[in-house]
Symmetry: C2
Subunit: 117 residues, 2 copies
Amino acid sequence: MGNRLNGFGDCSIEVERACPIELTLHIIGGKWKGVIINILSKKDTRFNELKRLIPGISQRMLTLQLRELEADGIVKRKVEETIPIKVGYSLTHQGESLTPIIQSMRMWGNDYISKNE
Amino acid sequence: MGNRLNGFGDCSIEVERACPIELTLHIIGGKWKGVIINILSKKDTRFNELKRLIPGISQRMLTLQLRELEADGIVKRKVEETIPIKVGYSLTHQGESLTPIIQSMRMWGNDYISKNE
DNA sequence: CTGTATCCTCACAGATACTG
DNA sequence: CAGTATCTGTGAGGATACAG
């Protein structure tokens, strides 16, 4: 499993019920993770396909974010041993269980935009 | 309204539907914002009360996070002109509309913990 | 095609002290 | 009680080059 939140175990009685929130936020809160999960929830996607679908992301960041999502059990990585090599990414079952939250956030964001623009 | 996401307008056709997700993540993704919103969703809370309920947060960070939430229209600030002065914080209507998402994240986080521990 | 390896910077956050 | 003012450090993230 991936990194724990700093001080995750330091939760006091008062805020202990808030910690799962911080944990979730930590797992999906990376700069590009929301987009990545959203894309993978629609279809399995290869590395370069992701790079193309997310303008502005660097190879380095795409790799790092995918590695973290993988370590946290959200994303599956499947290597096709062809030449050239192909790597497909998809959501794990746990990753798929995140999509309702992502979709809620998408709807809330759209609503927010229409109300504040 | 608060800061826009960097490059929020740079969304390509492919990912434009993902941008509201990034926006939402940006608004609630600050290090302490999830906890703050969660606490305020239960009851209006004063500054020092928040500080007490969130061990580990500094006065500086509490102020900054509250200011950002206020600028983004999530939190309301109400000054009681007593001596000593008292300042109450509460969720706006828009802030309250976030609580289902926060609660989903809390449930997902708890589920995640029980499955990965 | 799918990555590592470096180097760099700058915004975010911690610590501490001070104030109306 | 509810903040501001500094100073400082860390690490997330960007740019670029190289590699199997």
